[in-house]
Homo-oligomer: 400 residues x 2
């Protein structure tokens, strides 16, 4: 039996069946974990649901993105916990428990890529795969003190992974150090279709920072200053012309409609007992109408166009990753729901824009990690990862 | 993904880590499965609870009873589903689903050794280990059309297995054929401390048969007649001098008190969402007072003395294993609760008595299997298993 707060709780206790990797390659010597949403041959895929796990059987194919890491020489060390059906930002799986936040053990790790962030932040592996639909890599990266990326939509393949909301789903990854983060980016992302210039134009999402409590803004201000010192004076921009609320609703409705298309038949047929929060979100999802989703998509298209015109091909936008450091493990579900509301305002920017976003673990508050993000134009993922490493190096990355 | 009603749903989808067995031995050539309540080195132990599974880690030791099967040459093929914390007779695990009853696919398999009974009844292995606290081998054996034994209390070791109610917990096993059942008995049980005579005195539990619906009594009457043809005219006995109700309550209160001692701290601390029925039983268990448990133990001691004086060293008692064929998969939880009430009247006889009971798959009704049982004096387990094989052979065992 694992002790309470055992870092090994990041992993599902699947027996260790060997998975071969290349003997050499750019990631040789590094270890990685995989969110239990991706298939790995020889293992089941549970997706955070006991019943999906029970019905999974043993997979015979390995998801291509996992295969890429193996071919680059990285060694697979295990499958990691996820929120139930990946439909939460908290990392508190009612059935399987809460993986330990290696950056703040008294706080939630964030989710849904909770186990991946936990494993990396506790030093159990060098890097880990997650998925990010509405913030499931960016949130845990900020909460656990990791580099994490939500790539451009479609940039990394999601074959062999469970869907949540396909028009938002992305495959992302975590690393503790900027160096490993950049090496992983090189191995997975390949060359950029639209690389950023060496010194991109710097923008600051003024309305996103305006949402924050003053203490959080203060904790991030030093980092913003350091980025300006590196890249030059930033221009303040308003991201959301009509405020974040219509964007948040567009995101939620599209996501809900698609989540029910992904999982509604299974949930309706087998009625598995869903955990708190997840149950309410699927109930909401079931009731999203086609017309509401269509309205959401219209709003998304308009916003994506606006964001693209702000970023063009040469700018990065600085914004807070999350509203604050991770909530406490003891916080009740309604406090997490309120935190989630604020988080989605920030997270839906890159989600609706389809753009890459990197969260960097360069701030802290109350002794807990706090991320800050760079958003680049769609297709600039590799440039963004390397820029994050440069920023971290300039600022003096905190010890891994 | 397994199809609905896939027999493979008997097994947890743990990756197949090899477990060595002896190359030769009395069980060479046979395959076996293990209820996921027993430790097997290289595997986690989930006990039907997602959170226990998540916290399990990979076990490094193998339970001695599993080791005995391996040393006898049997080959391990997997770990099987159990009801949550083994605290149900139904086999419907709210989290992991319901293993397929190979004898009656539209009916529940019974539990808590549901996956073991499912695997054997669907031909996925030759024999399987279960546990029986209140009927968890006998019930599924009757429902799925298998030979199954609840041994004398303490006869087979429960080291390396999760407790439910230690003063009732036993390790039992299932087989499809009388021959394999007898071979398994020889390998696991060893010689009897108190063997039965070649032709034991035959007793019939008149009050137990009187509980049954007339159609069920009719279905069992042919088997009773055949047993009499083999062993001679039976004597009718009243097992429960004051009816079954005080016995059932004694059983429930001792079991409840001990179940809360086994699992209450874990459940209280982590508050995992419990499935229907299991939740109510743990709530009942939490509230059983020490005085109620003491009263129950006094009643148990008295009843065990009475049963021993009825059986002495030379008798077997014939009784129905379960009140009827298995309930339908579509039956609601309250129908199962009512069925459970009637079942415990029958099952608590050997439970309170600490005596061995073998269920034989020799009757049927409505196209579904129906078991009939032999109870012998404590320590007569091996004799009872061989007697069951003789009875089955005399009657003409139904095809496996």
């Amino acid at each position: 039996m694992l002790l309470p707060n055992d870092p090994a709780h990041a992993f599902l206790p699947y027996p260790a069946v060997p998975v071969g990797n290349a003997a050499s390659g750019p990631l040789a010597g590094l270890t990685f974990a995989v969110k239990d949403l991706f298939d790995v041959a020889g293992y089941p895929t549970g997706g955070g649901s006991p019943l999906v796990l029970a019905a999974s059987g043993i997979k015979t194919d390995t998801a291509p993105v996992v295969r890429t890491l193996l071919d680059a020489g990285a060694r697979f060390v295990g499958k990691t916990h996820t929120d139930e059906f990946a439909f939460s930002l908290n990392g508190r799986n009612a059935h399987f428990g809460t993986p330990l936040n290696g950056g703040a053990p008294d706080r939630i790790p964030g989710g849904s890529s909770s186990g991946s962030a936990s494993a990396v932040s506790n030093g159990l592996c060098d890097l880990a795969l997650g998925t990010d639909t509405g913030g499931s890599v960016r949130g845990p990266a900020s909460h656990c003190g990791l580099f994490g990326i939500r790539p451009s939509h479609g940039r990394l393949p999601l074959e062999g992974a469970m869907d949540l909301s396909p028009s938002f789903d992305t495959c992302g990854f975590f690393a503790r150090s900027a160096d490993i983060f950049a090496r992983t980016g090189d191995a997975l992302l390949g060359p950029d279709a639209r690389p950023l210039p060496e010194n991109p134009r710097l923008l600051i999402a003024a309305d996103a920072f305006a949402m924050l409590d003053v203490a959080v803004r203060g904790a991030l201000a030093v980092v913003v200053q350091a980025v300006e010192d590196l890249l030059g004076r930033a221009e303040m921009v308003e991201v959301a012309t009509n405020g974040f609320e219509p964007l948040q609703w567009a995101f939620r409705r599209i996501q809900g409609r698609e989540a029910w298309e992904s999982d509604g038949a299974f949930i309706g047929k087998h009625a598995p007992p869903l955990g708190p929060g997840v149950k309410e979100r699927f109930a909401f999802s079931r009731d999203v109408t086609a017309a509401e989703a269509t309205d959401g998509r219209r709003c998304r298209d308009e916003f994506a166009g606006r964001l693209a015109s702000i970023l063009r091909e040469d700018a990065v936008l600085v914004l807070p990753t999350m509203p604050d450091v991770a909530p406490l493990l003891t916080d009740p579900e309604n406090a997490l729901a309120a935190y989630r509301d604020r988080a989605i305002d920030l997270l839906c920017i890159a989600g609706l824009g389809g753009t890459p976003q990197v969260s960097m673990p360069l701030a802290s508050r109350l002794g807990a990690p706090l991320g800050i993000s760079l958003v680049g134009p769609s297709g600039s993922d590799g440039s963004l990862v390397r820029l994050a490493a440069r920023v971290a190096s300039a600022i003096g990355e905190p010890p891994a």
